[in-house]
Point group: C2
Chain length 339, copies 2
């Protein structure tokens, strides 16, 4: 067995309460000499703190675990920021885990966070989580928010956007500008519910009597280079005057593909994105897009979670977050040739 | 006192070892029925796991704490990715903390991570950490890597780039293209060691007999909008033909400022950035920049840390990471008018 606080007390003559406060970083009112003595003795005795002992006093750790699929994606880092700002303002901290979209890693991280006694979890997952993850969460009475596009059927704490509606809105905007031959860049990454955005696109085309074509649809990775590769393939083959790129990062890649092919945006090709990340305003031309309230999604998740921690017996609310069409320079009325 | 594993064993008739494995997510070889019985009983008895008890067996938790100043900055998210890929490949996980550049929050996160028994820490900090943070780290014998631009004087485990050299390289490139009136966008954010990049810029000017001018220097926030505001101010007032923007994110803002002022890049203005984030290749024109091996910095930090965990009595090595000039389309020979 390692040394305990009692051992440090015996050796230093400092009270257990004082030592506990100093070792827990709450000893600023004690003298530098006392603090140094305690730290030095803890070091000499190879003392290891028992986090759980501290935790048992308040039964709260004021930390929240948050799992996201990809921290390098500005979409998720904005979401983290929103959650964090709210939690920090309420004296909570975040332990953040990056699952790299891997469902096994998500399961492991949930376990690790539970072992570390977080007060609750926010899980942004592209996957169906293992059922024992939920059993564990519930066995430990840990409130959690799933940002999962309603992939798990859950009656409470659903915070979501309507991807179908977003895809529909984007396509309606292009059609309203006179475009009929409209391409779409999708992705195999299911997290963004690109599938639903595609369905919204197809519904809009259909409503306007536009037949559409499989040749107008191209799949790519959810990155700038993924958007570039997919757009280049599509623009080389399909006869289109407008393009719906299902996220803004990929749209940056579409811009480069158009540039290399000598296709001018918006004169030859109107482009609309999805998300409204900061970059959208700095692209040339600035990017028309469907804005998701990414920061607010993170913030709302944090808010609902703290409410659930404070009121463990109440059901969490559900909230649909609004989408907005942000018209910038990259979309334009279709020019119909006189000939 | 809460229920223990022993209580679950008595109630279920399952052995303590089996229960422990199931509750620790390592029970996949047991039947679904046994696992459910254990989870259900744990739930009924409101069992809370004692992470420390598990930890005492191996004395390792296989988790690393990592603190970064700003996860929404692609620079740091790439660094996290590099560390994570290495750690995950070695069966370690990361608990990530975002300090928002706040030194108090950094101190708090170090404490929280220590309480949660991480095996080591990677701390990317723009600040001077409180001295008791180091006392704590050392009292607990926790290896740590500081990615702090050598702000703390430490003889081992320094992984760094030479910012002075980077600033010098960028300016030399512009001068080699015939530019003499060269502006610079700096920042008040000390993390990037912009101060040293500025000194490298000044040294290069001086070596070539260029006097320089305070009117060529403008400070801004380390974001796209910060780069935009600072560049706009600078380009409106200073008579320059080249601009060194001390990070790529800000360079995206400089592009917009130039566009609004009718200044063509690279014909009227050569622009060089710093970092080489993915965006640099997708800007129009593509951005010439000084490449930092961001991903490798994170990876090397992880590698050195694991080595220190495995060999607690050896000193950690120091490593200077290389910088490279990446020439793309945004810099060009200065056109001297014949008149």
């Amino acid at each position: 067995m390692g040394a305990t606080i009692r051992d440090i007390a015996e050796k230093t003559g400092v009270s257990i309460t004082t030592i506990s406060q100093i070792l827990n970083g709450k000893g600023s009112r004690f003298s530098e000499a006392t603090r140094n003595k305690v730290f030095q003795t803890a070091k000499d005795l190879a003392y290891k703190p028992n986090f759980f002992a501290k935790n048992m006093v308040t039964n709260r750790t004021n930390t929240i675990g948050m799992i996201v699929p990809e921290v390098t994606d500005p979409f998720f880092s904005q979401m983290v920021k929103g959650a964090e700002d709210y939690l920090n303002a309420h004296d909570y901290m975040i332990l953040l885990c990056n699952s790299s979209q891997d469902s096994k890693r998500e399961d492991l991280y949930v376990e690790e966070l539970l072992h570390r006694a977080v007060d609750g979890l926010i899980i942004a997952s592209p996957n169906i989580l293992a059922s024992n993850v939920f059993t564990q969460l519930e066995a430990l009475h840990k409130p959690y928010i799933l940002l999962d596009r309603k992939r798990h059927h859950r009656e409470e704490g659903n915070i979501f956007i309507d991807d179908y509606e977003g895809g529909y809105m984007a396509t309606e905007h292009l059609i309203s500008l006179g475009h009929t031959n409209i391409g779409i860049i999708t992705s195999d990454d299911s997290f963004y519910s690109v599938e639903e955005r595609l369905q919204g696109y197809q519904a809009s085309l259909k409503e306007h009597g536009i037949l559409g074509s499989p040749a107008w649809i191209m799949e790519g990775d959810q990155t700038m280079s993924g958007g570039y590769i997919a757009s280049k393939k599509l623009l080389e083959t399909a006869d289109i005057t407008a393009l719906f790129v299902t996220n803004d990062q990929m749209a940056a890649g579409a811009y480069r593909a158009a540039l290399e092919l000598g296709i001018a945006i918006p004169d030859d090709l109107s482009v609309i994105g999805f998300d409204d990340i900061e970059l959208a305003e700095y692209m040339a031309p600035t990017l028309t897009t469907i804005r998701q309230p990414i920061y607010d999604i993170g913030k709302t998740a944090a808010k609902y979670l703290l409410k659930a921690i404070q009121n463990p017996n109440e059901k969490m609310a559900n909230k649909k977050m609004p989408l907005d069409l942000i018209v910038r320079e990259s979309t334009k009325k279709r020019i119909v040739n006189a000939e």
